[in-house]
Subunit: 407 residues, 2 copies
């Protein structure tokens, strides 16, 4: 069985300036090819430390990724260090150099002299072409091990993994134990509630791997098994036990799932937000093609905007306060009317850290939903920091909408 190790190089990763998203990307991609990622190490742009990492990795893994340190500045030493590690020199690759010259031509600049060194790679390596940048990737096959070296720029790394590294891996390791996987995405339930619903029976005497990954307002479950039929059974059971909360088996967000349903039912949507300040509309319009169903929305921070622009009666505001079920109801109705949409969502609440009171604490949120069948209002209480409360409120409003669409 192939075992993979990831070496990410860069001082910026070790002083906390940059979040290591490359390690996650590679881990996910390699795992999807049914290869276990066993170790991930980060070291600085330092020859001794990179050498040590290479030695350990070659000792315990047969698929090794090295990323970062391939740029043209003096602290980029990955290329040289790998050549030295394998005791071979660097070699000029004229094909890659033509690629670099071409790259600068398309952005209408002359090729800087310093980038010539980008066209060098260890003599025992083979090139991996980078179509999005100038850093040359390469790979080395030695003693049944495959070492793949990619630039650290996330966009370039991703593109090169897709076009070059993945086919290389499947070709080099053809006899991987094929596993099937199933990913379920769940809204409106917390991790313990989900585990409770699944119960012990779900896990008993059946051979599969189980992972549960909570994010704010959303949980993902991932199942893996060699037995395709078992996965089909588990899929059916998940659907039964989780009902509408399970919004997708595809790798999609709840906004995308909502978009799909809106298109299918030829419904349109608008919204009005207070404490979430545009986050609901932002998530809805993350989905490309949202213009088919999303007409518009308002952020009504000011009470005057709520009454003048969205028709919330001043008495309703003064007698209930802006954070109230009555105002959520009036806002949803106002948006539906204003934008002429079949559906409208409203969110009003207190995201904090200031503005809370004993009767209306930070985290109190009202969600309104208008449809041709009438208007419903929901009250929620969330906890945590401002950003967390805003995201929870938005995710819950998305679930309210999703539930209505599927009921």
């Amino acid at each position: 069985m192939p075992r993979c190790e990831l070496i990410t190089i860069g001082s910026e990763l070790l002083n906390g300036s940059v979040l290591n998203t490359n390690a996650q990307f590679l881990a996910r991609q390699v795992s999807a090819l049914d290869i276990d990622v066993v170790n991930q190490v980060t070291c600085r742009d330092n020859e001794v430390e990179i050498m040590q990492a290479l030695r350990t990795a070659i000792d315990r893994a047969n698929l090794i990724f090295v990323t970062g340190g391939l740029g043209p500045t003096p602290d980029d030493i990955t290329r040289d260090t790998i050549a030295r590690f394998f005791g071979c020199g660097l070699e000029f690759d004229p094909r890659q150099y033509r690629q670099i010259v071409k790259f600068f031509k398309t952005i209408q600049r002359e090729t800087p002299a310093v980038t010539r060194q980008e066209a060098f790679r260890p003599a025992i390596s083979k090139p991996l072409v980078n179509r999005f940048g100038i850093a040359l990737g390469f790979y080395i096959t030695i003693q049944r091990r495959l070492l793949i070296v990619l630039p650290g720029v996330p966009r370039e790394l991703k593109q090169m993994f897709d076009t070059a590294a993945r086919p290389l891996i499947t070709r080099t390791f053809p006899n991987r134990a094929r596993k099937y996987s199933l990913e379920a995405r769940i809204a409106g339930l917390h991790e313990p509630q989900i585990m409770n619903r699944l119960g012990k029976r779900f896990f008993r005497d059946r051979d599969f791997e189980f992972g549960i990954y909570p994010a704010i307002g959303e949980v993902t479950i991932r199942l893996k098994s060699k037995d395709k039929r078992l996965l089909a059974v588990l899929k059916r059971e998940l659907r039964e036990v989780l009902g509408l909360h399970l919004f997708s088996f595809e790798n999609e967000t709840i906004s995308e799932a909502i978009g799909r349903e809106l298109v299918r039912k030829r419904l349109t949507l608008s919204c009005v937000e207070s404490c979430t300040g545009g986050l609901f509309a932002k998530l809805i319009t993350d989905a490309s093609g949202a213009s088919k169903y999303f007409k518009g929305s308002a952020v009504a921070y000011d009470d005057k905007v709520k009454s003048d622009k969205l028709g919330v009666p001043k008495e309703v505001l003064s007698s209930n306060g802006a954070v109230s079920g009555a105002v959520a109801r009036a806002l949803a109705n106002g948006a539906q009317r204003n934008y002429g949409t079949s559906l409208a969502i409203s969110i009003t609440g207190i995201a904090g850290p200031l503005g809370g009171s004993k009767r209306k604490p930070v985290g109190l949120i009202y969600v309104g939903m208008s449809s041709p069948l009438g208007t419903q209002v929901f009250e929620f209480r969330f906890s945590g920091e401002r950003s967390r409360i805003r995201l929870q409120a938005t995710q819950r409003a998305l679930f309210v909408l999703w539930k209505w669409l599927k009921s």
Copy 2:
């Protein structure tokens, strides 16, 4: 000089399910204490692999963090493995157990039997109390090395670092070479443009560390030096060379800096967005206290909303198209009028991936800005994926606003 190594434990990090934000958090915090983080490794919940990581770390570092694998489930083996590594048993900590019982009392649940094991720690360790959860942290001081073990839940880890780990580190390593640091945040310029403005003279014959960290639409520069006076000189030079682009020396976002200026000048703000779908408003309202200056906004996706609700003349829409300078101008004026604010921003454009044409390609963005002095319109062209174009457009609109405020 102390050298730090981070060991993050958890199979979920190696199959790509979870992004390792703990490593970045710890790296940043430890670096801020003038201790170099030299290595970071991730290993699975596997005794042999954890042991190997511990051995290597103790060999090359004197401050070692271990996180993750402290929960109550069977795959959480960090506690046991560390005890075995040091050849000592586990010891029951009655004080911690009382803490756990108390924790469950506050959430009105009985203490589950399985959590009793959470109150055990290696006999040679000392406890670190967790106020946000039930996982016990602990630390071990041995052979001039400090090993700190914290739970993997980010919220608990952060809280325990702040209350317990930081004071422990400063006490254990009192003789750190004190370095001063300076962080500058820059908008509206790309990394190469910034480097160009700084020039070689900036770096010549002066003893400081320099880091530059580009994000989408924003760049951070970090300088470090033992010489406090040199930093003051560099600060002045940065300000001269970068002008208005340098929006903060504090650790704040451009939205927060804008908010500060709006309050100071007693100005109010509204906005209307098309392709960015609420992202501008979301970023503005990320700042707590935004209700002081932010009145409201609209997302006008539909042309009918643009004309009916924001007063964009139908002829302007039909003769110029929704993505045009004329419409950006009319939208900014409409928002300013509608919400009665001193300033208004509008954004209209094509975020893609669909909807582009030869004359109006994906990435074409217009930003309008209305003020008491009139309305200005700016045209931009961005590239990349939908999410990237949306973020670039929003960041640029924020910079347009910032520039106006500071001019």
